[in-house]
């Protein structure tokens, strides 16, 4: 098997070959490291490449050869979003203020993937502190979309999504506060899953907005996402918002869904407010076709209304900055990260202010100031208090929609990937990219993005979002895997098989 074939296997296929002894983890890891070296100068998905990957892989191979019982993804390489603490690699969250910082501990999700013997390849690029929808707010330069290098890969997790689409990793971890897993999935033709809030530990994930953040899988297939979710999910006593329930096997759910080929009896709710004006024509067309495919497979399509979703972005841009301005107060030049002493010295407050001025980029400053404003005496009730009420109304909209439908669907992003620089100077236009993904974060429900086909007008990927009630993540994997299989049958190929070559002789 050539290295080019190895990197095109899904994680599930690669895992099978590793288990069967047809391929070693060292061979697979080397194939990915070579690929990263070849395309990284053009894509810029990674902020750091692990120096230990081959050693980690060799240890898995020798333990396997010694007959040790290993988990299903043992030996499979993985990329880790730079918002997650890693004891052996720098963790910057895309910010200058944390340049070179090596955390003294692993995030729980990282510890779990090490325990499951996955092979960390490196850390992926992101908008600074996960604030953005394009990865252009990274302090280390933007990541480029493998479908068109002049376009954005989505954000904040553009590095993870681009690494998957450019075959620089078979699996990646992301984090999703308002769409940072799902929107990059949509614009890169990959799969992204935001679990139920509390389904995956946030311990060691550098907090953006604590009541919205969730860590989740970024992959090429629904089954791969399910396999990774099985590894990272479940209760963590170190995260007091972690749900203590036992979870079913998501991989079993995905396999069931892929095998069934039928959506008989599944009620699919189309959210009226998450479409129409402001959605690119090709996105709307592909969405209509996806609905047809689902209906042909037996799904019952119902239109549902969620009237308060219209207010979701407004509520989100009050709640997020409020929480972020509090969370980012820890970057105070004392315990970690950079310190800038103003000319002539100064008090600790002067040093903090000078450090944060040079250490934070423009979007972080914008949101910290906005959050400080929203939390100010005299404005608190009108802004932050009202936003929390909207959150209640959105939860009620979901509750009534889920009385009429088993899953809700919408496009995962209103447009295909836009050009680098196009929305950088217009914060409001940038914020609108998350119009379809934000409601799930406000309500804590799970949301998944899967490829929905290429938009006819520009040949770029579109994404389908599926949402389920809180704790019904397995339903998303089951239905998601069915829809994925049905759509690929209707096209006759997977979307990623159409991603353009990035290097000579590559196809």
């Amino acid at each position: 098997m050539s290295a080019g074939d190895v990197i095109r296997l899904s994680a599930a296929q690669l895992a099978e070959k590793l288990t069967a002894g047809e391929l070693s983890s060292v061979e697979a890891t080397q194939a990915y490291l070579d690929r990263i070296e070849a395309v990284e100068p053009r894509v810029n998905s990674y902020l750091h490449i692990s120096k230990d990957a081959l050693d980690t892989a060799a240890k898995v191979d020798s333990d396997r050869a010694a007959g040790e019982k290993l988990g299903p993804l043992a030996g499979v390489p993985i990329a880790i979003k730079d918002v997650l603490c890693t004891q052996d690699m720098p963790t910057t969250a895309g910010s200058r203020i944390l340049e070179g910082w090596v955390p003294p501990y692993d995030a729980t999700v990282v510890a779990r993937l090490r325990r499951a013997r996955l092979v960390p390849l490196g850390k992926t690029n992101m908008d600074e502190f996960a604030m953005g929808s394009s990865t252009e707010h990274s302090a280390y330069g933007p990541t480029r979309n493998p479908w068109d290098l002049d376009r954005i890969p989505g954000g904040s997790g553009g590095g993870s999504a681009a690494a998957i689409a450019a075959f620089q990793a078979p699996l990646a971890l992301g984090s999703d506060t308002g769409g940072s897993i799902r929107q990059p999935g949509a614009v890169t033709g990959t799969v992204g899953m935001k679990p139920t809030y509390g389904g995956v530990s946030r311990y060691g994930a550098i907090a953006l907005a604590s009541s919205l953040d969730q860590v989740g899988p970024v992959t090429r297939t629904v089954l791969d996402a399910a396999l990774l979710h099985d590894v990272i999910g479940g209760h963590d006593p170190r995260d007091s918002t972690s749900i203590p329930d036992a979870w079913p096997s998501f991989a079993d759910a995905a396999r069931r869904g892929a095998a069934s080929g039928s959506l008989d009896g599944v009620r699919v709710g189309v959210v009226k407010e998450l479409g129409g004006d402001g959605f690119q024509q090709g996105v709307s067309e592909r969405f209509a076709q996806a609905l047809e495919v689902m209906e042909k497979a037996g799904a019952q399509i119902v239109e549902v209304s969620a009237p308060h979703f219209t207010y979701a972005i407004a509520a989100y841009y009050l709640i997020l900055p409020a929480e972020a301005s509090s969370n980012l107060a820890k970057f105070d030049s004392v315990r970690f990260g950079m310190r800038v002493t103003p000319p002539g010295g100064g008090t600790v407050e002067d040093v903090m202010a000078a450090t944060r001025e040079l250490g934070f980029g423009p979007e972080v400053k914008r949101r910290v100031i906005l959050g400080t404003y929203a939390l100010s005496a005299g404005y608190y009730d009108a802004y932050y208090g009202s936003a929390q009420k909207v959150r209640t109304l959105i939860q009620r909209d979901f509750a009534s929609a889920f009385e009429q439908a088993d899953v809700l669907v919408s496009p995962a992003a209103p447009t295909t990937a836009f050009k680098l620089g196009e929305k950088l100077e217009d914060p409001l236009a940038m914020y609108l990219n998350d119009v379809t993904t934000i409601p799930a974060n406000l309500a804590g429900v799970p949301g998944m993005s899967i490829p929905m086909g290429l938009a006819p007008e520009d040949g770029l990927p579109t994404g389908l979002q599926l949402m389920a009630p809180a704790r019904a993540d397995a339903r998303l994997y089951e239905v998601g895997a069915t829809v994925e299989a049905l759509l690929e049958q209707s096209w006759g190929h997977s979307i990623l098989s159409k991603v353009p070559a990035l290097v000579g002789g590559d196809n």
Binding site: G345, T347, V351, G385
Partner: protein, 99 residues
């Protein structure tokens, strides 16, 4: 248009401990005005009868046993600090001369 002034932004920057430049304050003043006008729409539906939600999946009284868990050593805790004396974080003067 909301009434955000440069003085207000300068005050917020001081509260947030970010030494913004004059140019940054001017640019942010315009941007914040536009953003706040847009997000102020939340008050249209936030009527007094609607309770507030702070947390998507409510959980209360999440406690653990009061025993020593796995913690960082002093060495680990100060390893990433810009300045330390071997066992403590070192900072600049807390008070200015006039205080």
């Amino acid at each position: 248009m909301s009434e955000i002034t440069t003085e207000q932004v300068a005050h917020l920057a001081n509260l947030a401990r970010i030494a913004l430049t004059t140019e940054e304050i001017e640019k942010l003043t315009g941007e914040l005005g536009v953003i706040i006008d847009s997000i102020a729409t939340v008050s249209e539906v936030a009527t007094p009868d609607v309770p507030a939600t702070s947390h998507p999946i409510p959980m209360s009284n999440v406690f653990r046993e009061d025993v020593v868990g796995a913690t960082l050593t002093t060495e680990q805790a100060i390893a990433g600090a810009p300045e330390h004396d071997g066992s403590r974080f070192r900072v600049s003067a807390i008070l200015g001369e006039e205080q």
